[in-house]
Symmetry: C2
Subunit: 351 residues, 2 copies
């Protein structure tokens, strides 16, 4: 199939390429494979689903999920500015990829990493990078089971994570239903605040901003939350906030064909984000909703189930915040001191 | 764990990094995960195995294999010289990654791709690249089920492929046994010949060399061969020739703790490789064994099973060449007109 209607002008941005090129090319395929012993693999969520992971149903009782994320090398500006070590970016690579598996409600089981390095990189730096990947994965019970290493002009990091989930427990981003509550696993905007402060020339390595930088240094994918969500039938949709909270909410609403109303008063706002907002002369909500890779989860949960899910989270020492509700309709809005507005902040765009 | 004994001098090359850093950091871990319905995932082959893929046993009747390969962007010199199109390098990305799954004897079921592009890349070129990935995967029954796209300074391609295989049929590279025959699925050296001719300034786009360039344009991972091997109990080890034939044979011998004797008279040598050797003033065997990414498979097969395996291949229109034998010992040697020598050619090294 040839893609039609592409013009020779300015290339499309990433969302445009996905909508006009990738989904038409890849979106509608189905597959089912059988082995000689009767085991089967069947595609549940492919490229067209545009979910955190692809998903395959294996035989009757297991769904395999798999996702992949490239971590920008030279654009990893906090690394270039010296705020992140080689160990840190290794950990980040692991955590960012495992977050996609967590967002499907799956138990992550393996990580494959691609590590390309300039030949001049000292071996001790390379070793720290590998150790960071290993430890970031092990922190949530995952092994780095191999991958690809070799030289390149500069550091290039990419990985794939995969996991398994009970067929009835898979959490797509399409499952939100009218009357459900929208829940969030922790405060957002910390990672983006660190980036914005550093870009403004601030030294973010001090104690004042340690919580912000920690979001980059020790990504903590919400695997435990994901499993609590997956095991509860009242949780029907989930997505991670790797494109920021606004991006996650809007995508969940669009994918589910629902409207989302967020209540400002319910949003968890970290003190460090308030301080960053003051320093940046920003509205704190812009940071909370904006392009910040915090790797929290947003989930749609039946109203009558929220108390029990929140209790299970609390028993494991985990946060859960009800931040809004879902209704028939489309779009996502913010209720702010009684006034309904658009949700502030920018969605993460690779351009 | 901190890696000890690294010196501050010249960084290690890739094999050195793997042996002294990656395997000590990642090699010895084990894991087993359970789901609420009793399904389990257990690591069979991790980073320490250094096989084509990692492998997990899922519940009782299925092994998941997964591998990842980065395809060099700016070093993809045949692309830069205009001999490969965007469609071709997309197809190559799919085929190269699926080959790792085929080498484990598995049915490939999915491909995740990472495509990073310079913002100036015309959309039609980007679309061709995506179509190449899609078609390279579909040619062997595999779907591109998603991945990561976004901008970068230049084209960066990476992917992960995964597949499923019956637990008793998994083909590691460690399984060769004394008395087995060494078999090869087709002629090698074509891809490397194309590269060497182009580097010497030859125009390889003409009919004389079309078979050589086709190895890059339409990578054909040996999925059918892999499944015939997997389903036959007399086949116990397999590896692909992505590091060249010499590299594959030496790795199989070392991983299995065996010696391999190759017989020159049995090697398939493609006419185009003979012509390339003449043009390059090379010994053709250097090209046959050397650093050439032909994505053929090398397998260790019980002597009494070879006839049946070869017949099954022939019935599917597939080649199979007995090129040597396996015995207790170590190392790989070539018998050439009655004289035993080292195997010529260079092993692919990323450096």
């Amino acid at each position: 199939m040839t893609i039609r209607g592409l013009t020779a002008g300015t290339p499309l941005d990433e969302p445009g390429k996905i909508a006009q090129i990738v989904v038409p090319a890849l979106g509608d395929a189905t597959m089912r494979s059988s082995l000689s012993n009767g085991a089967t693999a069947e595609l549940l969520l492919g490229a067209g689903a545009q979910d955190d992971c692809a998903a395959f149903r294996l035989r009757g009782d297991l769904v395999l999920v798999a996702g992949t994320d490239y971590v920008r090398g030279p654009k990893f500006s906090l690394y270039e500015k010296g705020f992140l070590s080689n160990y840190d970016i290794g950990w980040y690579l692991a955590g960012a990829n495992i977050s996609d598996v967590a967002a499907m409600g799956a138990v992550p089981v393996g990580l494959l990493s691609v590590v390309r390095y300039p030949k001049s990189l000292p071996d001790s730096d390379f070793a720290e990078l590998i150790e960071g990947i290993r430890d970031g994965a092990r922190a949530v019970g995952v092994l780095n089971v191999g991958g690809d290493i070799g030289s390149a002009e500069r550091i290039i990091l990419s990985a794939s994570a995969f996991g398994v989930v009970e067929p009835s427990n898979l959490l797509p981003r399409t499952g939100a239903r009218p009357g459900q509550l929208l829940c969030l696993t922790g405060p957002t905007g910390l990672a983006g605040s660190a980036m914005k402060l550093a870009n403004q020339g601030e030294d973010i390595s001090g104690d004042d901003y340690s919580a912000l930088l920690a979001r980059w240094q020790r990504v903590s994918p919400r695997v435990e939350h994901g499993r609590i969500f997956a095991n509860h039938p009242g949780v029907t949709a989930c997505i991670d906030t790797s494109d920021g909270l606004k991006g996650a909410i809007e995508t969940l609403a669009r994918a589910s064909g629902m409207a989302v109303d967020v209540d400002e008063a319910c949003l968890p706002v970290h003190d460090s984000v308030r301080r960053a907002a003051a320093s940046l002369n920003h509205d704190a909500l812009q940071l909370v909703f904006g392009d910040s890779v915090d790797f929290e989860l947003v989930a749609a949960i039946d109203a009558e189930a929220v108390t029990e899910v929140a209790r299970e989270c609390a028993e494991s020492g985990l946060e859960l915040h009800v931040i809004g509700s879902i209704r028939a309709g489309s779009g996502a809005m913010l209720s702010r001191r009684g006034v309904t507005t658009n949700i502030p902040g920018d969605v993460w765009r690779h351009a």
